[in-house]
Symmetry: C2
Subunit: 521 residues, 2 copies
Amino acid sequence: MINAVGRDIPEEVMAATGRDIFRGTYVNDNKEYTKAAPTVRAVCDPKRSKMVASIREAIEKCGLKDGSTVSFHHHFREGDYIVNMVMTEIHEMGLKDITVCASSLGKAHDAIVPFIEDGTITSIYSSGVRGKIGEAISNGKLKNIAVMYSHGGRVRAIEEGRIHIDAAFIGAPTADEYGNLRANGGKSNCGVLSYAYADAQYADKVVAITDTLVPFPNIPASISMVNVDYVCVVDEIGNPNKIATGAAKPTTDLRKLLMAQYCTDFVVAAPYYKDGFVYQTGVGGASIASTIYLAEKMRKDNIHMSLGLGGIATPMVRLMEEGLIGKLVDTQDFDLGAVESIQAHPDRHIEITGSEYANPMNKGAYVNKLDYVILAALEVDTHFNCNVITDSTGLITGAQGGHPDTAAGAKCTIVISPLVQGRSPAVCTDVTTVTTPGETVDVVITDYGIAVNPARPDLMEAAKNCGAPLYTIEELRDIAYSIVGEPRKIKFGEKVVGIVEARDGTIIDVVRQMQEYVFDD
Amino acid sequence: MINAVGRDIPEEVMAATGRDIFRGTYVNDNKEYTKAAPTVRAVCDPKRSKMVASIREAIEKCGLKDGSTVSFHHHFREGDYIVNMVMTEIHEMGLKDITVCASSLGKAHDAIVPFIEDGTITSIYSSGVRGKIGEAISNGKLKNIAVMYSHGGRVRAIEEGRIHIDAAFIGAPTADEYGNLRANGGKSNCGVLSYAYADAQYADKVVAITDTLVPFPNIPASISMVNVDYVCVVDEIGNPNKIATGAAKPTTDLRKLLMAQYCTDFVVAAPYYKDGFVYQTGVGGASIASTIYLAEKMRKDNIHMSLGLGGIATPMVRLMEEGLIGKLVDTQDFDLGAVESIQAHPDRHIEITGSEYANPMNKGAYVNKLDYVILAALEVDTHFNCNVITDSTGLITGAQGGHPDTAAGAKCTIVISPLVQGRSPAVCTDVTTVTTPGETVDVVITDYGIAVNPARPDLMEAAKNCGAPLYTIEELRDIAYSIVGEPRKIKFGEKVVGIVEARDGTIIDVVRQMQEYVFDD
C-alpha cells in the first residue's frame, strides 16, 4: 500500500509487523487510548534487600526466558559497556529469541553481532543501528524485521503497549542500594538518564547496574527506587572518555561556515525570531557554527531565547551562562561542558524525560513548543522528505534520534546539508529511505543556497530577505546532479530487513537487504 | 469476619465495598499485580491550546457525568479553595453520584456538606474527614460507605486501579499555559505537590487550576505538562495565611516537654541511634520539643541524621541547615520555613511523590528506610493498636495521614500520647477505631512513663536504660483508668458509615453511625 510519503509498503510487511502505513504526521492528534502498565512486585517488607551479586543473578531473578524483551538506554554513547555485558550473560545462559529494545545502538555494541547470527537476538528495536549491527541487519542476518523508531516514537511505543519490556537494564553512574539512580557523581557521568525513564516506568522488572554505589538516598534521582527491583555493582559501566567528549572544536570547514551563516540569516529574518523564542540545534559543525553566529545577532538585537532543548552541548551551555538563553531542558549530554552544567545549574539546566521531550502521544511534549529546530540530513528530496538512516548505498548507518519529532513539533524546521556529500547528491529526487516526512520540513539550507517548502508560503518573505541565494528544491537538486551526476537507482534484495516507524508507530518506509552491487547497464 | 487486629468486619460491608479483611501488615510483600493505566488523549498538534476560560468549561471538556470520580490534593490545607470551587460548579451543573477522591478533606471544605446531603456527592475517599464533613459522615448522611485510607494506601489504591479517577483537579501555585505545575512562585505557595502526582499520572483527565500563570516553561515542575489536559486561571486558589502558617512556637506544656524528654532519651538509648540514621516526626508540640532535645544529643555525640522525611516543618529545616541532617525528603510543608527551605536548598531539601513516600505496593518507599518515626495518637490500646481517626465519642475527626505507613516501615515506631486526653484515657483496653495495627507499634510514650511492645524484646534494654519509668502497656492503662475511670462502651447505630482501609486496601476497622448518647445503666 502507498503511504502518505508515497512509499509502497508491502502488505506482508504490514502483516508481519502488525502495523498500518503512515497516513500523515498529525492524524492522531486527540486520539484516545489506554496506556500500558507493567506487572510488578511489591516491596513492603522493609527488611528486604535489592542488591544482587551479579548480572547473572539479576537476569535469573527477573525470570528472563526464551522470547523475552530486554531494554537499554544509550546515554553512555560510544562508551557503553552495559549492553554487551548483559547480552553476553544472556547468551551464555543459552536464552534464544531475545528482543533488544534499545534507545539506540552503536559501534560500542559490535560485540553482540554474533548473538544476532546465532539466534540469541532475533528482534531489534532501536533509534539507529550504527556500526556492525547496522551491517548485520542490512545483510539480512537478523531473523525478524528490525524496527527503527524516533526518540519520541520509542516512548510512545512503550507507553501505548506496542512494546512490552520484560526487564530493563539501566546503567547508572551512581546508585544507592535501594535503586535511586543519578546520572552524575560517579566514574562515568552521562549528565542525564532521560531515555531510561520510560523503561523504568513501564518494564516489569528493572535492574540498575552501577560502578559507583553511594549512600542512600542518592537524590535528586533521575530514576526513583519505586521503579527499581534490583541493584548490581560491576567494575565499570562504561568508558568515560567515550561517554562525554571534550567540547567539539569550532569548524573551519568553509562549506559548513557558509551554511551556518545562511541558516542564522534565515532564522533572524523569519517571524519567530523574537524575545523568548524556543530553539533546538544539533552538534554538527554547521549547527554549532550557526549557534555562534546566532548568539552574535541576539546580543546585537537584545533578543533572548527562553528555552533551548534536546541533546545539549557546550555552545548552548555558554549562551545560557551568558544570559542569552533562559533555560535548557536536556535529554542527552554530548560533551563534558553539558555534564558539568547540569550539575552546576539545577535551576536552569534541567533533565527531562524522553516522553517530555518528544512523545507524540502524551498530553504535549517540548518539541511542540519549538520555534526553530536546526537538523542535519544525509539526503533530502524534492518532496522535502529526509533520510537520516541509510547511506547512499542503502546501508543502515544512522539513527532517527529526535529528527522526526522535532520536525513535527517546530514552527520552523530547517534542514542543513551540503549539496553534495562525498560523491553523492544530498538533495535528490527521492531519498533512499524516508525517515522524516516532507510535510514537517520547512526550509533546506545548503552551501549553494536555500529552498523553502512551497507548503510554507509564509516563510518565503524571510527567505527572500535573508541574503542567501534562494532556489526551488528542484533547482537545488539539479545543481547537485550537475556536479556529481544523477545517482543510479540502488538494487536491493527483495527481503525487507527493517522498517522505519513514523512517530505514531505506522510504517513510513522499509529498508531492504543489501545486494552485491550490480550496475543496471 | 474477625480480622488480624480482632475487629469483626460485617460480611455485608465486605460485600458492599468489595474488600477483604485485614490479614497482617506484611502479607502482600512481593505480591505481583498489574498496575492501572489511564485512558488519555494525545496532544501532537503543536497549535492546540490547553487553556480553558473557566472551571465549568474544564468540567465540560473532561466529559464528567453522573457517577464520575473527581480528585483533589490537600497541600493548601486549611486554606484550600479548589475543592469548594469545583464541587460548587459540579453541583450547579446538576451532576449526581459523584465520588470525591481527596488526599485529605478538612474544615476548609465544610461548604460541600450540602452536596453530600442532596446526592451530588455520594462517595468519599479521603485520608481524613475533619470538620463538618466528618460529622455528616458520622451522622449517616453520605449515601455510600466512606473510605479512609493512609497517604501510602491512597497511592496504592490509585496505582492498583482500585480507584479510577475520571478527572483530577490540581491546584497549582504556579502554572504555565502548557500545564507545567510548581508548588512555588505564586500567591499561595505550598512547597510541594507530592500527593497530586499520582492523580496526574493515573487520572484520565487532568485540570490544572492556578491563580498565577507564568511564562513557559515553569520548571523544574512538580507535575509535568505531559499529564495535564487543561489549564484554568482563577482569581484565588487559596488563602496563603491558612496554607503555610508561621513556624509553631515551642511548647511550654510541661506534660509535652516531659514526653519529649522521654522520647529523646529512648531514641538515643535504642540501637538505631548512630551516624546516618533516618528519622521522621510530626508537628505536634511534643514532637517538635523532642526534635529540639534530640538535636542537643546529636551535637554532643557527633551523630548525624542522613535523612529526615515526611511532612516538613521549620525545626527539621534548621537542623539540616546546621548540618545535623544530610537531606530532607518532603511530601508536605507545614509552615513557611519549610516552603522557603525547599526553594533555597534544591540539592538537599527535595520533593518526593506520595508513592515514593509511603506506597506499600511499589518497589520500595522511603518509609521502609526509617529507623525511627515519632507519631501521635488519639488512643492506643493494650494490643498497641492506635486510633487517629475517631474521638472518644466515635465521631470522625482525624486523618490517617502517613501514620500506618511510617509505623509499618520504621525499625522503631514510637507513639507519643499524654496518658489522659481531656477526660478520656489515651491508653485503653480497646481503641474506638483501629487505624494502625499494634504489630507495627513498638513503643508507647506517655507523661507517666513508657511501655514497649512485648513483640520487641530487643528494645527492652534501651527502655530500661533510658531513664523513663518503664511499665507494661496494661499498667499504663490501669493508671489511666485510675485517674479518669474506665470509659463506658459507646453505643453506635447499626449502620456502617465508613471503613478504615489498611495500607493494602483491606478493612482494618469500620466506623458506625453516631447515636444519641444513652447510658448503659
